[in-house]
């Protein structure tokens, strides 16, 4: 049974993530109107916002520790926030600043915070194999840490995902795969390209449990993830969890969504996992004032992170030449050994 403090933690994560995405949308559109120019404004490049996905990140990460590994896809902010990624440095990275997580070299699809073992990748399903590798490392070291790979429903037809399911299953790795089903792979509704009704059915082909959380309800996600993460932590192998979420915004900012029926967009706005969780909090006896305080604190945290990020210096251009390697190019040595080899070679 979920504790009240856990409901409050999830709520804080979710309202932080929602406000974060709404504020980033505002910042992103600065300088990009009236004519949309993707490279203009304080946040350049693509921006994939996760409003409507919050329950998935919060419900799963509630069970994770800093030593557990998470890989997220191109829509990563809500997962990063729930995993405890440094919000200020993450925001600085999104604004392309020197003190960002990747010194401005990664951007919003490539956020790495080794302090909490979080990484994300902009290539569909390609976070799955490294998550399996983190699980493999945990198994080899005989620790009880786990790894979680988040992916979208559009990724379930990718080889990297399917190969990783098999790899994790055959080696009984402590890995949880979490499909966030928001119904749309950019403009492609899943029914047109995937011949199973639900992604969780994929588990059947790999002899692992597959569960689906139909409503994007944080408590339901929490319960499903408790079992899946617990199974991994107890060294009983991988689980596939699918969560129905909703895409409240375009695939990327600037996406006019002409392909998407009005009623689908309205339905996504109408169902809100945050309102649901507020009702759960009230039902658990949490006062409205406490809920307001949590929301207020989350908003302040987001505002502080954005203000801090925008105040950070931009990278020195010459830094572009650094960080391809951590060791010197020569490896661990700069000197040749001296041996006298028979025959005169070397």
């Amino acid at each position: 049974m979920v504790q009240v403090t856990e409901l409050q933690d999830m709520y804080a994560d979710m309202v932080t993530a929602r406000h974060y995405e709404e504020r980033l949308q505002e910042e992103y559109m600065e300088g990009k109107q009236p004519a949309f120019d993707i490279s203009a404004g304080p946040i350049p490049g693509e921006l994939h916002l996760a409003a409507g996905h919050e329950a998935s990140g919060a419900g799963v990460c509630q069970h994770l520790r800093d030593d557990d590994t998470v890989t997220a896809p191109h829509r990563p902010h809500h997962v990063a926030i729930a995993k405890g990624v440094d919000l200020k440095r993450m925001t600085a990275e999104i604004f392309g600043r020197e003190s960002g997580l990747g010194k401005g070299k990664g951007g919003h699809m490539h956020l790495f915070d080794p302090d909490v073992n979080f990484a994300c990748s902009g290539i569909i399903a390609e976070g799955c194999p490294p998550a399996a590798g983190a699980g493999l490392a945990a198994k080899k070291r005989n620790t009880d840490s786990v790894a979680v790979a988040f992916l979208g429903e559009g990724a379930i037809d990718q080889g990297a995902f399917l190969e990783s399911l098999n790899f994790a299953a055959v080696h009984e790795l402590p890995v949880v795969f979490v499909i966030e089903d928001n119904d749309w792979a950019i403009s492609m509704p899943k029914g047109r390209v995937t011949d199973v009704e639900n992604g969780s059915q994929r588990a059947g082909g790999f002899d692992m449990p597959g569960v689906r959380v139909d409503a994007d309800d944080a408590v339901d996600v929490y319960e499903a993830a408790r079992e899946a993460v617990g199974r991994a932590r107890d060294r009983n192998g991988p689980t596939l969890v699918e969560v129905q979420v909703h895409r409240r915004m375009g695939h990327f900012m600037g996406d006019a969504q002409g392909y998407r029926p009005d009623e689908d967009q309205e339905a996504a706005q109408a169902r809100d996992s945050i309102e649901r969780l507020e009702a759960d909090l009230r039902a658990a006896g949490v006062e409205d004032a406490t809920i307001d305080d949590l929301r207020e604190a989350a908003h302040e945290r987001v505002e502080a992170a954005i203000a801090w990020a925008k105040d950070q210096p931009k990278p020195d251009p010459t830094a572009a030449h650094e960080d391809a390697f951590v060791n010197p190019p020569s490896g661990v040595t700069d000197t040749e050994p001296e041996f006298e080899l028979a025959g005169g070679d070397d």
């Binding site: 194999p129 590798g133 790899f167 040595t333």
Partner: protein, 340 residues
């Protein structure tokens, strides 16, 4: 062989034995080193890259994996980012296509994209090369492809001595290293090697730095720059050229990333003539890169330049066809004569 003397290394190993010796030594020293690949446990690697290791280290550390290069190369990336030191093998480098995202979008870029906050201390081993009629999908070297994409150190040993020292450096390095071993150099019973790659190898561990080319033969008249199998072909060509009074210097690059410009430039300053020999495709590759670097830095030193490389077609099957498109010893000798 020379008389046994104090301090002289007599023991000769094949390149595969030398490579395996370095891996075994590192695995004994560090529990975090392990090897993943197809047919690496009971088989010992199709090209002897892990021969005998399963017997000592067991299935947990010499791991046979599903035929899922994306999954297990990616798992190596994840384990490396968790601080382990995996070695993952592509049975043939030609199979890179099924897993290239993990190689160049994850393994090679995560360090940079994280601003150096994450590192990927893994070795990707891959068998390369042709000259045994295995046709277009099993004969390439792809040296230029891997060296072109930033974020990977690229190692190509040509002798047992180099193979061991470069492998020690590769495993201990905190960055991703692609270690490309030529099938024809390994000393496999069913694929005879030329004489050159079997060399004396010290029993102790030692590291050879990356970015340090080796002058395998000193000469005054022409500089031959090459790597891998063609080090031995260039040495053979140099012997026949010597009979004609042409004294060739042979430089073995040993690593493509980083590249030892200095040794090449010093040699060209001496000889004035440059021949670059590569088993990879001619266009947009190693030969063009070496020539460009010499031209940029020392144009005045250059009196003549020749390139010897694979023709720009897929590698054909029939012997007569493969021989036509891959560079042979005689091709090197005639290219050198062109410069004289």
């Amino acid at each position: 062989m020379a008389q046994t003397q104090e301090g002289v290394v007599e023991r000769e190993l094949t390149m595969s034995r030398a490579m395996v010796e370095a891996i075994a030594d590192e695995m004994r020293e560090d529990e975090e080193v392990f090897y993943m690949g197809e047919d690496v446990a009971d088989y010992g690697g199709i090209f002897d890259s892990t021969a005998g290791l399963r017997e000592e280290f067991g299935y947990d550390r010499i791991m046979d994996v599903p035929i899922s290069e994306t999954a297990y190369l990616g798992a190596a990336v994840g384990a490396a980012q968790a601080g382990m030191r995996p070695i993952a093998e592509l049975m043939f480098v030609d199979f890179f296509g099924v897993a290239m995202d993990q190689i160049y979008n994850q393994m090679a870029k995560n360090t940079y994209m994280s601003g150096g906050n994450v590192n990927v201390p893994m070795v990707l081993t891959a068998a390369v090369g042709g000259y045994y009629n295995d046709a277009a999908q099993h004969s390439q070297t792809l040296y230029g492809t891997f060296a072109h994409l930033p974020g990977m150190k690229v190692v190509v040993p040509s002798t047992a001595y180099d193979a061991k020292g470069l492998m020690h450096n590769a495993i201990r390095d905190d960055d991703p290293v692609v270690y490309m071993f030529h099938k024809r150099l390994m000393g496999i019973g069913w694929m005879p090697a030329p004489d050159g790659p079997k060399t004396p190898v010290p029993e102790t561990d030692y590291t050879i730095p990356f970015g340090s080319a080796d002058v395998k033969r000193e000469g005054a008249d022409v500089t031959i720059v090459t790597l891998g199998l063609h080090v031995h072909r260039a040495l053979e060509a140099a012997e026949s050229l010597a009979e004609d009074g042409v004294d060739a210097e042979v430089i073995d690059l040993r690593t493509l990333v980083p590249l030892d410009d200095e040794t090449i430039l010093e040699s060209v300053a001496k000889t004035g003539r440059l021949v670059v020999v590569d088993e990879d495709y001619r266009s947009f590759g190693v030969t063009g890169e070496i020539v460009a670097r010499v031209a940029e830095s020392s144009l005045a030193d250059l009196e003549a330049v020749e390139r010897v490389a694979a023709a720009d077609v897929p590698i054909p099957y029939a012997r007569s066809l493969e021989n036509e498109m891959l560079p042979a010893t005689e091709d090197i000798a005639s290219a050198v004569r062109e410069t004289q």
